[in-house]
Amino acid sequence: MNTVSPTTKTSQTGPSYWRSLDELADSPEFKQWADREFPEGASENEGGVNRRDFVKLMSASFMLAGFGLTGCRRPEETIIPFSKMPEGYVHGVAKYFATAMPTRRNAIPLLAKSADGRPVKLEGNAEHPLSGGGTDTFAQASLLNLYDPDRSRQALHSGEVVDLGAATSHLDSLADKYARNRGQGLSFLARESSSPTRRRLQAELKSKLPQATWHEYEPVSFGATAAAAELAFGRAVNPSYHLNKAERIISLDCDFLGDEEGSYSNIKGFADGRAVEKPGDHMNRLYVVEGLMTLTGSNADHRLRVPTSGVFAVAAALLAEALDQVGAGANDSQIGALKNSLKQIASTANVSSEWVAEAVKDLASHKGHSLVLAGYRQPLAVHLLALALNAVLGSIGETVEFLAGRSAAAKSISDLKAALDSGSVETLVLVGGNPAYDAPADLNWVDAQKKASEVIRLGYYDDESSTGVTWHIPETHFLENWGDAETSDGTRVAIQPLIAPLFGGLSDIELIGRLLKLEEPKGHALVRASYDQEVAGANDEGWKKFLHDGFVANSAASPLSLSADGFQWSAVAPSILNAETATPPSIESLELVFHRDASMDDGQFNNNGWMQEYPDPMTKLTWDNVALLSRKTASALNVKNGELVQINLSGASIEGPVWVQPGLADFTVGLALGYGRTKAGRIGAFKGESVGFNVNPLRTSNAPYIAPAASIKATGQTHELCATQDHWSMEGRAIVREANLEQFNEKPDFSHNMDLEAHGAHIPNAEDGLPKPIYQHPYNVRDSLKSDIHQWGMTIDLNRCVGCSACVIACQSENNIPIVGKEQVGNSREMHWMRIDRYYSGGVEAKDGLNGLEGDSDQQHQRWIDDPQVVTQPMLCQHCESAPCESVCPVNATVHDHEGINVMAYNRCVGTRYCSNNCAWKVRRFNFFDYNKRPLEALYEGPLAERSKDDLDIVAMAKNPQVTVRMRGVMEKCTFCTQRIEEAKIQQKVAAKDSGEIEVPDGVIKTACEQACPADAIVFGNTLDPESRVSKLKANPRNYSVLGFLDTRPRTTYLAKVRNPNPEMPDYYDMPLSTQEYSESMGDPFSDHHGSAHGDGHEAHPAEAGSANGQSGGHH
């Protein structure tokens, strides 16, 4: 069965070899010989074969082939080893490199996993002092941007493809030109950056080309707090928050857990301050004043719903009250007039004085442990008020510290526009960014850009801003280039390439370096030079350590010794007092609020399929943005979810679908940025139509975030919206269990006292008195199956979880989960193994007789959604011991393994979907189509539509080689990251060799969701080890199973949520609203009688249970 030896290809690069003198001569005979497989005559049949003979011959050979089954032999594959072995490389063993994802003024420290030479997963760098190993959705999804087939691949000169070399040599000639005239006529427009190297190059630019101008523009800018602090302290500073030390927090429209920068570290601090282990533990309290319904608002203990423009007046009221209660210490004499003016402003606030007084009292009684935060949407005055509150409440130097900052060196985009109009810009260099899409509408940027005689664009995509430019140069991804950045604590972090640029290109610093005519404008040299110049004691060893660790240890800036006494009230007061108090919005004069989108950011992630399909944490909408309205506004306008409306603002208008958002301020329209791109890739412009609608035409430089006096008109048309969660309420069921802190302190095991499992009589009894499970327990059936080394389990602490959804994208990246497109999401066919369920609860009174039988489309009209409480719950395979899915699988494709994991054997699955039908948690996902192999826009064409090889080759690189890529007709679900478990077990066994120490130590295995979670809410481990974190958490009294009454014994359990409302507040609730709804039908879980009647767990007390049933009433 020998096969023909493959001919060795002649080398393309090295010396060429010839096989014979004929080949060397390249004679026609040789060419003919080479084209023919065999020499002339060898394969011809001389006898003259007629058709009949031919068929005979063929069928005989087919017979033989069939019997020999040679045709079934798998195709011959070759193994291509290295020709020279690189040192230290072991094929098949993944390597991790420390790097960071640069953000606007910050960076997210990362460890990038490199498998076979390409990055396949990004994880948080837990050793970084600020990080703790958490990431956010954007960091997780940035991997897919690297492998985006639609990214810019070639340099363009006036739209024509040119060699990158031509572009760079043009840059060199420009550098020569501007070196001669000191930069006259040269302007840059860049995004913000925290890179020390870029800062250094900018300084060099200023000294070498002093006439050149440098402008920066961010569609969403987080600079307001620093600007306010500079005003208040008379020097440039950057704030650094310590949320873990904050026991009382007020957020003034600051979504610090969501769309503010640095949420990965904020969430960690917040969750650490919120976790309670046992009764009596300290827990922080969060007050939120906001107009939109943000993630932070959804985690609030007290949420004050005011229009976004009304936050200013509430902030003024809070400061006035704080000055009354506490005073301004040494500065007390300066503030008399201010206080009176503040009270005047406060009088316009739509808030009860009691709310303000009690909130301030609470913060003041935690002097030094309270914190006030203001969000990016708010004007400078609100940031100043927040700072003043922090000064008065003694937070400065405690929960908020200030690090030495730098005054903004960059000019604004408006300045650039003026320069362009005056004709003084000859060469405009766009360093990243996409101003043609996101610049303020009043600048009319597309036309302004044309006024420069030459535009050079460095862009990741050939998008709106590259249209009509002279030169377009592809930008490299942060995983392809060298760079550096600073995290918000001032720590210098490294950005190092994991792979050579896939399609060539330059990074921002390389572009600037070239225009500066530097000797070696290469990323590595530039970053190294900055390191050598700026880091104390820099040397080769230090550089290696920098790259190894990903950051320079102890390089965090030391906080300035600023105190409340240094707060310059006189400098601050005018800015506060000159700020306009907004007239409250009304139906005639609506307020538009523009916000950074949780999926698209400002449009940077527009062509990223994971982000398009990632359900917004609040609305759960995918593949769209909407005009968010409150119930009251929608009913006043007489519009419903999905109706298209026209939004008008001073002459400009846009059109988009309406969505009623519970908890939104009335007469506010929330508009997400980043959608409606006119020139995007195949995701952002799906099937040629842009996804969502563009809100930028209504954004102006004067009102970039809050725009008053807008109007809305229904168009009579509708737009299909696809949300992944249709029903908003738990309807009194104990899916998420929550209590107030006092109730937890009194009855820490309240969660055991909820739902049917607390009502033992409902569970059918077996003869032995133990409850009889509905489904067989695999280890009862076959005891030998059970491992006595590992039994895996997971806990999810709902008190820590804030709902940020980083886990969802981490899971998608780790487990090769495909996206399915909007249409299939609409058919509930999304593939996420992990989802975040979000429930609103309105309390009994507000629900007012509603029983959940109304249709999902009726919710938007119901009164209870006006001021709801929100809970979020990560939902994934529960890994039931007595799993309902297993017993219905006709082909044993889903079975239990010896370590308690409910496994899926994809090859056995025939796609009956019985398992999914029988899963009570709805966590199984079915591949209705070949999502990986077929183009998303032509799923229904099946095999008739082929995805181009180029697409497949590039996208395949993003796949985790340790996880099977599933095909059509196969069921899939969370595996507890079985590939990580197996790898850890194998490593342990390899190390154990001939010893019996094969138990994996606690903490070695982190599932992808656990690793990505910035809140440390998810803990995975071995439940057989009593010392493991998961065992200890499962012993916590808050531990419960979702749908525990089914007695399937889930391995994933939840720790009940605890809220911490202030009993003195006017909006205090004596029980979380969802618990109110629960106890309405099921009885008070905190009452002693209830508890003793049922006990906890699975013990049955039929006699007593009878009476308790009567008391709790009507849950049969």
Binding site: N2, P6, T8, R73, I79, P81, K84, T978, I986, A992
Partner: protein
């Protein structure tokens, strides 16, 4: 009716059933014999671009497997050596041998040698070399006596039943860690005694090293 169905048709149903059964049986026998890895794979011996002989290197010269396949203890993947590894010796030994022309060329030009893959498990099987060779399972159990092969051929079937056979009974195959790459090694020269000792010592080793008998899907499929 007899016009339509002549008499001989009476026997037809029986004949059809019998014929069907015979064909069915033939297909069943054919498939069990021919459509199994035991038939399709065992014996596969492709011609390699370089006529490398394991028999000479491993048996006559006594090179350890791990000299060339050095990743086998660290990775799931047991690597084929780079040309540079060959050249460690062959820059002195047989340095002008025409059979080694491709190796020298590869070393000089950087163009890799396209070895033809012999052993392969399907993509949905996540086999790991390191955990097997570090825990007492020799190369010979899956690859056969490679040290006796001039040209490497597929010696074992590599079907799932082949894997599971050993996974069910690791004691029947386990051996001391220093004998992993000693492919000829047995517990005794006498075959019967060797089998007895294998059972006895094997069970002891499985117990002492806590070797698990893994027959769950998750052991190999992810």
């Amino acid at each position: 009716m007899s016009d339509i169905f002549p008499k001989w048709t009476n026997k037809l149903p029986g004949q059809i059933i019998l014929g069907g059964l015979l064909v069915g049986a033939a297909v069943a026998v054919g498939v069990t014999y021919y459509a199994t890895p035991k038939y399709t794979r065992v014996g596969y011996k492709p011609v390699q671009p370089v006529a490398f002989s394991h028999a000479i290197h491993a048996d006559q010269l006594g090179l350890d497997c791990r000299y060339c396949h050095n990743a086998v203890e660290k990775s799931w993947y047991s690597n084929v050596p780079a040309s540079s590894v060959c050249m460690n010796c062959h820059n002195q030994v047989l340095k002008d041998d025409p059979k080694l022309a491709l190796v020298r060329e590869s070393f000089e030009t950087g163009e890799p040698i396209p070895w033809v893959q012999v052993h392969k498990v399907p993509d949905y099987v996540y086999f790991n070399h390191s955990v097997h060779v570090n825990r007492g399972f020799s190369c010979v159990e899956c690859h056969g006596e490679v040290n006796k092969m001039d040209e490497v051929y597929h010696a074992k079937p590599f079907g799932m039943s082949f894997c599971v056979e050993c996974h069910r009974d690791p004691a029947g195959r386990i051996r001391p860690l220093d004998k992993i790459t000693d492919l000829d090694w047995t517990w005794s020269d006498d075959a019967e005694e060797a089998a007895e000792l294998q059972r006895e010592n094997g069970e002891q080793l499985v117990h002492d090293w806590r070797v698990e008998s893994l027959v769950n899907c998750s052991a190999c499929h992810r």
